[in-house]
């Protein structure tokens, strides 16, 4: 008897749990490795996972074994020139042909244990200890959110919330309790009737008739107990618990002027994609506003922001003005945590940079929790950078970084959003 079974459609990823266990156990080492990986070399794309390596000695599973030493007599194949009694010089490194190889090798090799993390896993490690700085819980009476929680059962409610199991359980209990005395009397009466009849009492004996009437009466009583009664009904109870709301909005400002060549635009987009992934993954309620500018600024949606192509000259202040306007119109009144990330190549119309600094220092910085500026350039800093460099003197929650090559995206990103010491 032979069975031929096609297993291909079932039981994939049997090892997923074990894989997850492995990652869990070596979390700290893997995090270090991820850190090294993003510092060390360019990550080709955000869509990919990453190869990481951790030292072999950390993942070694020890076991008893022989080390080299003492007497080893080993039989090897492939003798070409040796005769009995030949003396052979010891091979270097104490090793040599036919070492006893038992399980794990004893010499700690310098090899690392290298494996691939999937994109999902990699991103988890990457975002793990990042956060939006200075996030403040703002609780507003007007828009306080309520979270509903289960809270046991009640005796009143709407029919849609009837908890059938509880209700029927109650009904059963009630039927048993209410019918108890009658059932006991019934059992006694039936018992008595049976003995009477066994003793040969005639069917019309007064006691027999009486008992029969009683039995009939009790049966009727028992049948009259309602199967279910409004008294039995139980409703699932839900209560509302006020939830303090943290409202946050992230403004992404990208320069799409002519001086931003394709490569820089690409780098900027990648930075924002990373930012976007981070926000979506870590915060479940956050609004994102995309602003794009050349000589004029416009608010666009996510798709436009990442995919459309247009260009022109550069006036950075246009974007800052628009940003200011949007904050005042939609995210003002101190009830929002506002964050701004701006990316540009630092190229700006000369007289505009001073204006930008003034806008930032006087108007925008007081309204936002954190402002990050990344400049994508390999040249010397230009006037915009110099003007921006004065902002932190007035407002410490302003951070700026330079990105030269795509490889810098990850480290710079981490730098900007690392957990602040509380």
């Amino acid at each position: 008897m032979t069975y031929l079974i096609d297993r291909r459609l079932q039981g994939k990823n049997k090892s997923a749990v074990n894989r997850e266990r492995f990652l869990r156990r070596y979390k700290s080492q893997i995090k270090d490795a991820v850190g090294r990986a993003i510092k060390g070399r360019s990550i080709t794309d955000i869509e990919n996972g990453e190869k990481v390596s951790i030292p072999v000695k950390d993942v070694n599973e020890p076991s008893f074994g022989h080390a080299h030493g003492g007497v080893w007599e080993v039989v090897n194949p492939g003798n070409q020139e040796y005769q009995k009694g030949d003396q052979i010089a010891r091979p270097k490194g104490g090793g040599g042909a036919g070492r006893g190889k038992a399980g794990n090798s004893d010499q700690t090799t310098e090899d690392d244990f290298i494996f691939e993390l999937s994109r999902e896993e990699f991103m988890n490690y990457f975002f793990e200890d990042l956060e939006l700085p200075n996030l403040v819980k703002t609780q507003l009476t007007a828009t306080t959110d309520f979270k509903t929680q289960r809270a046991g059962y009640t005796v009143s409610g709407t029919p849609s919330n009837i908890h059938v199991l509880r209700s029927l359980r109650g009904a059963l209990g009630r039927r048993i309790a209410v019918g108890g005395p009658s059932r006991r009397q019934l059992a006694e009466a039936e018992q008595e009737l049976e003995t009477l009849l066994l003793d040969g009492a005639p069917l019309d004996a007064p006691r027999v008739v009486e008992l029969k009437k009683l039995i009939h009466h009790l049966h009727t009583r028992l049948l009259a107990i309602p199967f279910i009664d409004p008294f039995d009904l139980r409703y699932s109870n839900r209560i509302k618990v006020p939830k303090p709301m943290t409202q946050a909005v992230m403004f992404c400002i990208m320069d799409v002027s002519g001086s931003m060549d394709e490569q820089r635009k690409d780098t900027a987009k990648r930075f924002f994609i990373l930012l976007y992934l981070f926000l979506k993954r870590v915060y479940d309620k956050i609004e994102v506003v995309f602003i794009r500018h050349h000589t004029a600024a416009a608010e666009v949606d996510e798709h436009e922001f990442f995919h459309s192509r247009e260009s022109g000259g550069t006036v950075v202040s246009s974007a800052l003005n628009l940003l200011n306007k949007i904050i005042d119109e939609r995210y003002g009144a101190g009830s929002w945590n506002s964050y701004v990330a701006q990316a540009s190549d630092g190229d700006n119309w000369d007289n505009d940079s001073v204006l930008c600094r003034q806008l930032l220092v006087n108007t925008i910085m007081p309204k936002v929790q954190y402002y990050t500026y990344v400049e994508i350039t390999d040249g010397p800093p230009q006037n915009l950078w110099e003007q921006y460099a004065q902002v932190p003197d007035h407002h410490p929650h302003f951070a700026m970084q330079k990105i030269v090559t795509p490889a810098d995206i990850y480290p710079v990103f981490r730098e900007l959003f690392k957990k602040q010491p509380k």
Partner: protein
């Protein structure tokens, strides 16, 4: 060359397999295997993907297994190697169970599928059923059920006591899993029903045993006299460390004892495989070669099939010489296949030399002789019994003595008249487990004050322990719960060195 008339049941010359073709190939292989008298468990062939093959690979070749990070580590390593194309997946994993489960990978060609069926479903399968070690140590009926039980039990423990507690305990058990076998006692058969029935009783019983050993209450009068005599515990050295811990470790909870037991049972199940690798692979390789050649002679498979099969077969049985960069010890497939083929040759066409060396099998019925060899030996005794001078010449075997007291290595024997017996004995000894693993046993327990456990390593050929010994000792200490010492002694019993591991933290294992 004469063109043969086509065989009525010939397999088509194509590399793509279909279910019908696999069934057809299997029917033919089965017919031929039964013609040769191979006795097997029923077969269960499973078509799987490469990824599932990697899963099978990493869960110690079991269809189910409990969860542990080390299996994840093996999976990642396998996956990496496979993706890089460094290694093909082994195309045969076969599970010693009834029915015997063999995996066929979907990307294999029809030829390879036929090869795997012949190799695993008839070769290994008949070995599992016939060899005395497997008959003694494993219960093919119950193993899959037992693994399911183990998986569920361990998952339950994880829920109750947390993943970390279970993981740490399993780590420690894994570190000494090769010391979880009674080599000289015949084990009780393992059956799931009994297992579950006895599990509850065992918890209570074990605890009472432990309590008796560590009792600190004042004894009654009549026991007083007995207690005065200093008793050794254990009375005899115990080679099965896991068993000893399961039985006597003072601080383990009942569920922890059960986990130790599970690791011990599984390790015991693989014990025969560790001792019959050459024979098992040799036997399976010999039979796939013999069966497929028979099919070719009958005309069931054609020339193209045979070419592809031979290419793969020769890769498997290649033995790189000692000076080659690919040399990694003796290839069990090569040695095993050569020996099985050689036994057949000695039976069918013995030379004068063979008659002198193997008077009782030269000229006998090869099927019976080979069957007898498969049933009654393990690698060590098989080589000592059947390795012929002809093979020693063909492999150019030579023995090298590496004594750390000497300046140089010494060639102690080569493939010549004087060296045959010596080389054969040396090679057989190489497969002796005692030679391969340090001999470490429980020596004594200090039941009176600090409850320290002393293990004793009896040196073999003055070989030292590896550097991991101290790490392993930490694991033993974690299981034991108190200090652990490891004494290394010479065969005469002279103390050479000692390792110890102190338990800093008194109290229960976390």
């Amino acid at each position: 060359m004469m063109k043969r008339p086509p065989h009525p049941r010939a397999l088509p010359e194509q590399s793509e397999w279909t279910f019908e073709l696999i069934e057809q190939a299997h029917e033919e292989i089965k017919r031929v295997a039964q013609g040769f008298g191979l006795d097997t468990y029923p077969n269960q062939l499973e078509i799987i993907t490469a990824e599932q093959m990697m899963d099978a690979y990493t869960s110690v070749g079991m269809p189910v297994s409990y969860n542990h990070w080390s299996f994840g580590k093996h999976f990642l390593a396998t996956e990496k190697g496979y993706k890089r194309g460094q290694m093909g997946l082994a195309y045969e994993i076969v599970i010693n169970s009834n029915p015997c489960i063999a995996y066929l990978m979907e990307e294999n060609s029809l030829t390879m599928q036929a090869l795997v069926i012949a190799h695993a479903a008839y070769g290994h399968n008949s070995f599992f059923k016939g060899n005395y070690l497997f008959r003694t140590w494993t219960d093919a009926e119950a193993i899959v059920d037992y693994m399911v039980f183990a998986k569920n039990y361990i998952a339950e423990c994880e829920q109750r006591h947390g993943i970390d507690a279970v993981e740490l305990l399993l780590d420690s058990c894994h570190a000494i899993q090769n010391y979880g076998v009674d080599r000289y006692k015949r084990p009780a058969k393992l059956s799931l029903a009994q297992e579950q029935q006895r599990q509850k009783e065992r918890e209570a019983y074990l605890q009472s045993q432990v309590n008796e050993l560590w009792r600190t209450l004042p004894r009654r009068e009549e026991e007083e006299a007995v207690a005065q005599a200093p008793t050794r515990f254990p009375p005899e050295p115990e080679e099965n460390l896991l068993y000893f811990i399961e039985k006597y470790a003072p601080l383990l909870e009942p569920w922890q004892r059960e986990l130790v037991r599970i690791v011990r049972k599984i390790s015991q199940y693989f014990y025969p495989q560790r001792q019959t690798q050459v024979m098992n692979e040799g036997w399976a390789t010999f039979w796939h070669y013999t069966i497929l050649n028979q099919l070719y002679d009958e005309g069931v498979v054609g020339d193209g099939f045979m070419m592809e099969f031979l290419k793969s077969h020769t890769n498997v049985v290649y033995q790189p010489p000692v000076h080659s960069q690919y040399y990694n010890g003796i290839n069990p497939y090569a040695l095993g296949f050569a020996m099985m083929t050689d036994i057949r040759r000695i039976c069918e066409n013995p030379t004068a030399e063979d008659r002198e060396w193997f008077p009782d099998i030269a000229g006998s019925d090869w099927k019976k002789t080979l069957d007898f060899a498969m049933r009654n030996f393990k690698d060590e005794s098989f080589i000592a019994q059947y390795l012929s001078p002809k093979l020693i010449r063909e492999f150019h075997f030579f023995a090298v003595l590496d004594d750390d007291k000497n300046e140089k290595l010494n060639v102690s024997a080569i493939h010549d008249e004087m060296g045959y017996r010596y080389v054969r004995q040396q090679l057989a000894d190489q497969y002796n487990l005692g030679n391969r693993e340090p001999n470490i046993q429980v020596w004594s327990v200090n039941t009176r004050d600090d409850r320290a456990l002393t293990l004793r390593h009896t040196q073999f050929n003055r070989r030292p322990l590896n550097q991991q010994a101290h790490e392993v000792l930490k694991h033993v200490a974690r299981l034991w719960g108190f200090d652990v010492h490891l004494d290394t002694v010479s065969p005469e019993g002279k103390l050479i060195s000692t390792l110890e591991c102190k338990r800093e933290k008194r109290g229960r294992i976390i």
